[in-house]
Amino acid sequence: MIIEAGGQPPAFLRLSMGQALANEGDLLHVVTNDNISTRRIAFGRAIVWGSAAVLALTGLTQTLQETGLAGFGYSNWRPTLYAYILWAVCLCWSQVLIRGEQGKRTLFVLPAALFVISMVVFPLLFGLVIAFSDWNLSSPTGRTFNGLDNIRQMWRDPFYWNALTNMVWYSLAILVEYAIAFGLALLLNSQIRARKFFRVAFLMPLMLSPVAVSWMIGKSMMEVRFGPVARLARELGWEQPSFFGSPELARASIMIMDAWTFIPFMMIMILAGLQAIPKEVQEAAKVDGANAWRGFWEVTFPLMLPVSITAILIRIIFKLKLADIIITVTSGGPGGATDSVTSFIFREYRDRSNVGYGTLLAMVYLVLIVIAMTILMKIAERWMRPQY
């Protein structure tokens, strides 16, 4: 029998094998047949339910102590943590005890799933609780539930809306970044001298930390008195150069610095896409009489759409997290003109210890991002479909 490299036998063989082995189980995927005794199954169930009971009991008593209803002498939450770990271990073990071979397969995923639940889902739920709380770290009363007050406060907070508006501008700048990145990728994809050198050189900004970029460029090169960019501007006739003085200019300067860092990222993705396009397609277009302009718009660009959309979507996600350059260079100024949502939350949360409100802002922002990205992906899907 010949089985292809992928491990799957041809369809006709599979059909006959399936018929022949129908009564003996899925021998292709099952190594042994488990003979699991009922005592083993009972033991498996016992440990999982037993440990679950321990976890529930510990959690309950600790909650009672936390709420002041009863005292059990716990000094911290570690007992519940240990009970959770015990339950997690018992749950994994019971899979093998109860389901044998099948259970072992579950073990490939279950610990990771439990880890994700404890490290992502649980904190997220805890974060939601904080988001609907009045919690200023300096307040002697600690955290108190305050319902929708934080949402009302957000609704009336001009700083948050200002930051959201700025994010729209910042995100729109991605279109320009994309055009530049596409141009650079085309350039690097063509037969130019020192192509490998330029590929590395163009990637350099991406390798720099945004904080380093902030200091090197924003605070040194663009320094108005001695910075080389300012000197050049003076040479060119701009008497009092100021890159962060007016709101529009400051926002543009931040956009340019951020673009300089991340255009290489889009460029490299597009370049990879360009290199994946079969040469024959463009050659065929040439044979058909298409000039370079039409060749680009009607062949290269449509073929590049999937890569482009991916690059733009990832770039938007990066952009929505923009904070480091802003915090370092302008602190959101002048007058909030360059503030991003993240840099505003940073101030609210860290400088003002306003944990409840800061968490709510972050949660709302997360929801906004998820919604916006879903819509964008749907639209992108529709755009791309007719091209094939």
Binding site: D134, L137, F159, V224, R225, T330, G333, G335, G336, A337
Partner: protein, 555 residues
Amino acid sequence: MKIEDYNRAVSMGMTRRRLLQTAAGIGGVAALGGLGLGGGMAFAQDNLRAEILKIPGVGAGSPTDADWQKVGEMCLGATRANVAEGEFAGVELTFMGLNNQNQHNVLFRGFLKAWETYTGAKINWVDLAQADYNARLQQSIATGTVDFDVIEMGAPFEGDTAGRGLLSEMPDWVKQQIDMDDYVGYLKAPVGTWDGKTYRISIDGDCHTFAYRKDYFDNADFKAAWTSEGNSGDFGVPATWQQVQATTKFLKGKKDPLTGLDAHGYLDPLKGWGGFGFYFLESRATAYAKHPDNAAWLFDPDTMKPYVNNPAFVRAIQDVMDVMPAQPADQINADPGTTAFQQFLAGTGSMISWWGDVGSNARTSDSSVVGDVVGFSILPGSDDVYNNATGQWDTLPSGPNYAPNMAYIGWGVYVMSRVDSDEKKHKAAWSCAAHLGGKDIALWMAAYPSGFQPYRNSQFNYPEWVAAGYDEAFVEDYLGSNLDSYNHPNAAIEPRIPGIFQYYSVAEDELAKGFAGQYKSAQETADAIAAAWEKITDQIGRDSQVKLYKASLGM
């Protein structure tokens, strides 16, 4: 000394510095006489102070760990007197502090090496970057996980810690060991105390002083132009904010005598600095807002109603707005770090308010070009001062009102109350803190890079500095401005209430909007700050803030 007497003496022509020097001199002689110190003991003490100042020696490069250890060992005398050798064997202490610029905790490690060897105690270190400090401390407090016994902390956090009973009260033997009477005026009670109990060992002093360029104010061309442009009086170092305003406007369009670039007057940082930027508006406002009859100047101590939108602060904000056209280009993007280190020390601008770093860097930093032309004084005063009780501007009979801004008050070492239950550990923690807060070690810390500034009157003994290799005129000028501020009878001391930096941080955001022209006026800007402050007060708890504010004022 009564403020009226002080101001009268000053107006009679006695400089503020000379007056205080005289007073300190008389006090010092009286103290020596009263105590009847024997010549031998005094000599031994003087000798120790002179000896430690030789480590490693001024101009001999930056001190190293070996130097810190040596100084720590030489200053162990006070510990030996109070603690038997090996008394703390088996005790482990956790010390939380900063690691800024490889100083603070890094320095303390060296200082405490000999202390550990002698007492037998062991110290575990928690080093934090400045940026992480606030969050780490507040999270520890809020989640009830104080995991340190001794902490290096700024006075503004006393509200968060002492106000919640987290600090250990200082035993009397420590007060004697560190000679608290030697502290400069503003660091004496009520600072460092809560409800009459003492908690703080000071290791640092902090205040804003006024630095100016002597070459501007000695410049003959400027003097001539000042008169020909019809300004009143002579052109000289401004003594009031009214004069600072006039001088700043006058200098617009002129050329800097040192660099030949555009001349500028007073430099205002217009960008926030994680809350620290608000100190600079305060420095402009204290002379208007801190009335000699009222210790409170930022909040009403009975209601926590902010004073920040009263006419005094509005005038200070308006002052900033008025001279914005005379500031260097892009000033809207200049934070306090920029105004001090990239502008003033690099030769841009002629006047600035800052902490002592400007003085210590003017001569020693490679990037400073103003070392030979910089002068210092206490913050300018004001011809009139706002009276919150009457709602009127008062003109004091004694002359202009001065109110130096004790911005940040300074670092201290505190012991946490969690050691109180263990007598041995309690004594060990306080002995450790007292070693760092000792009188002799303080002199060394002020004279060498340590991250700390003088905070004791004994640190202002200029001959000691001169003997160690410092330039006399410079030391007198620079240290004198600090001493005059510290001991000023009308010093503006910031409220040590929980969350004070939250107030500053939100004020910076609103000020930035005001300076960017998003509010119609200075009053509207100030009202926005006041509204945001009221919100913070309500969130933290108005009643508890009132109680703690009063406690911090010693009311």
